[in-house]
Symmetry: C2
Subunit: 473 residues, 2 copies
């Protein structure tokens, strides 16, 4: 496999295939998510879904095929998505009277239904979520990161006023921040997008940005306050307590299979994937060693150990593929990012021990009593989870610097993120991008109040605080 | 609501809307699955997914857009689906060189990937499952039963030989039978389809058939042995232990959102839905009664009770909508099929009791100590689940009869199922359908050996046992 330092992009492309996460689909930019990759998604999905439900949202399902006219009702929205649409023109053996769009996102069709379902202030807030596939035609596809079809959840909510809708917008951002940090071990930075980077039709767009190991940023989830734009376009109105007809304030927010790409690029190294235990399909792999009768005995012991680990709540797997050497199997599970490997050879059987190897860290090989493994491993996995978050945080902080001059800015964004004052002018953003490939990733929520001169053009700064700039996926 | 006895079809259409299960989508034959309907699906999905995983299958995800040429590779398959396809002809602002089909099912694209993934007998069996949306253009749509887009799981597996593939085919049928019976309380009949009713491209098709309360049959899940048809068309081959290149034997099997329609039509009555507790989004609804201060006190007590029920593993909900009368709320939850209602009025508060009402059964209202509710309710829900299965079984058996003459056959299929000998000729099946609207639903697996004369044409019987005939959804 190409080393990260040589060609990060080649490393990524080779790894997603070799680790059997994904395969190319036949239609342009589509991907097959293989069982190992899909399990990662399922585990992430379960964590996010639980939090979405716990905060009062209900799942529903809306049709994937949307009449073309729906998208035209909100001008900015259709403009934002037009070049990416896939269009069904024929069905049931005939040409359709009105073409149907394969949903690129569902604001329009959900807006249409919200208008039917909301009439009184008692119907608000309406808190919906959908798990679905969406299609956005992709000319420069990249597995997980930019694919023509991807999987996601999309939250769509309607509220009586701006304050309530903004609370919801920030709640969704908080959920994403928490899932990224606590489950994927990615220390994302939550913040607001500058106007030039807003979602099509949104009044405010918030994002969580993670730093990948090549210093680039990845937008790992977004949350949008739509104001009354969609409510006006789709006639989502309610009668207030005083009997007045008012437009709703809506939000939408999404997290996608892109998160798997973020996990790979935040933690992976030249040996392959490194998976946070909370997302790892297998948290522990037990590898029995030996030949013939010996292998049968160590395999039986490995299965017994795996059963005891499972009973302790650990996702354990036994790799007893007799046709493959132990070394090959060790490398395979390192490539596939399993947090802990347990090696079980004939001598371990005699001494009642097992050799424990972490996927990362300085501890090296360690022999522990096999009987204690189910007690020891859960804590070890928690430690490993925390270790990955600490390591990623240190990496992010080590590659982020304040930039108060253009020279420093250029140097910093070559390998990481620059925290800089900016004038807020879209044209100035464009200039910066043309010169450095860096874009404003977000205005961090927790940034300290500060004003001054734009790092690029010298005009007075906007936003009242610094903006984070970086090259991005 | 129209009574079942007057117009079953009108009853169904009104109920799915009034119970807020579903709404019509804008594109022909599409449906919006509302939160209450989607929760039913999620609960069914969780039960089925667990069983699919426990039997060694892995979930994956395959692209929804399939090149048209893929479908043409298996002749029977393309013929079976051609009139139902939705076709993407334009994407990314251009006309596509090759149109893309929105998957009507995924045998072809999964076959293409299996060919890449299988090389040795060690790669077999390959046991995959996918949860996905599919599109089949529907000219006579019916919510949940026949919709242009629906949700399902599709299992796809590859095996070394017929025996192993047939074991898998029957295993999937067993899973479906179990989920229908134990979770949905539908006493389905598992059996084989006659050749005329086989899936496009299959060698053998198995089905589970449930009887709805109008005496019609509903196919609630199917499992197909494909022989080597798809393996030959997609080049899915493996090297055997002796070094020979052999085609795989494949299977596919699916269960869909149609199951929700089956639940509605198996258990519902003139008051509305009747939900089996294992699928009910709310197993218990607590309705506080009173006005003003009283309602505040009973509502607080209702919430406390609901919390204690939740702690006991019961899905409980409090309906404290002050603007609606108790009677309206009682009817609403009867309409929505909640198994048990608990009424909590000011006098109940004083006496420390709660009034318990089952959705069905002869017990009437019953007052129980509020403190005992969390102990009593779980068992009551189990009883209710079993009661529904017994009731549906009695209904099915009461509407199924042996038919050894044509006159009896005609009479029986007018209101239920006929168990009859048949010659097996497709032309004779067509005649029967033209005269009675009944079709062969399946050849039940547990049918006793029997031969004789066809109930319709008098030719010698086929299959060595009786066939179940009925009108069907
Ligand atoms: Zn500037
Ligand atoms: Zn006949």
């Amino acid at each position: 496999m190409t080393p990260q330092g040589e060609d990060f992009s080649a490393w990524y492309n080779e790894l997603v295939a070799k680790a059997q996460l994904v395969d190319r689909g036949p239609a342009r930019g589509t991907m097959v998510i293989r069982p190992y990759g899909y399990r990662l998604w399922e585990l992430l999905q379960a964590e996010l879904d639980r939090r979405i439900k716990d905060t009062g949202h209900e799942n529903a399902y809306f049709p994937m095929l949307i009449p073309e006219s729906y998208l035209r009702r909100e001008a900015e929205h259709v403009e934002g998505f037009s070049p990416e649409l896939a269009v069904v023109t024929h069905a049931g053996g005939k040409e359709l009277e009105e073409p149907l769009i394969v949903r690129p996102t569902s604001e329009t069709i959900i807006g249409e239904m919200m208008a039917k379902w909301v009439s009184s202030h008692r119907d608000l807030p309406l808190l919906l979520n959908q798990w679905a596939n969406v299609v956005r035609w992709e000319l420069r596809p990249r597995m997980f990161l930019r694919t023509t079809e991807f999987l996601w959840q999309e939250g769509h909510t309607a509220h009586a006023d701006e304050a309530d809708a903004m609370r919801e917008t920030m709640l969704a951002l908080d959920l994403y921040t928490e899932v990224a940090r606590d489950i994927a071990a990615i220390p994302v930075v939550p913040g607001e997008k500058t106007p030039g980077e807003r979602f099509a039709g949104a009044v405010r767009t918030y994002t969580i940005e993670g730093m990948m190991r090549d210093g680039k940023a990845l937008q790992a989830g977004t949350s949008h306050y739509m104001g009354t734009n969609f409510a006006e376009a789709f006639d989502i109105r309610y009668t207030s307590g005083t009997g007045r007809l008012e437009p709703c304030h809506t939000t939408s927010w999404g997290m996608t299979t892109r998160m798997i790409g973020a996990v790979i690029m935040t933690h992976g190294d030249d040996k392959g994937l490194v998976l946070p235990p909370r997302l790892a399909p297998y948290q522990v792999v037990v590898v029995p060693i030996g030949r013939g009768d010996q292998l049968e005995r160590t395999s039986a012991a490995a299965r017994e150990l795996a059963d005891r680990l499972k009973a302790a709540g650990v996702r354990a797997h036994v790799d007893d593929r007799a046709q493959l050497s132990p070394g090959f199997r060790f490398n395979d599970w390192e490539l596939r990012g399993v947090p802990v490997r347990l090696e079980l050879g004939p001598r371990d059987l005699e001494s009642g021990t097992v050799v424990m190897v972490r996927r990362l860290g300085d501890e090296g090989k360690q022999s522990i009593p096999v009987s204690s493994a189910p007690d020891v491993i859960p804590g070890l996995l928690e430690e490993f989870q925390e270790f990955l978050l600490r390591r990623a945080t240190a990496f992010r902080d080590g590659h982020t610097a304040a930039a108060d001059s253009w020279d420093v800015f250029v140097e910093v964004v070559a390998s990481g993120w620059a925290s800089a004052l900016h004038c807020g002018a879209p044209a100035c953003e464009d200039d910066i991008k043309a010169k450095t490939a860096a874009t404003p990733r977000c205005i961090p929520l927790d940034g300290a109040a500060e004003t001054g001169r734009c790092v690029h053009c010298g005009e007075p700064s906007a936003y009242g605080k610094r903006v984070l700039f970086g090259r991005a996926y």
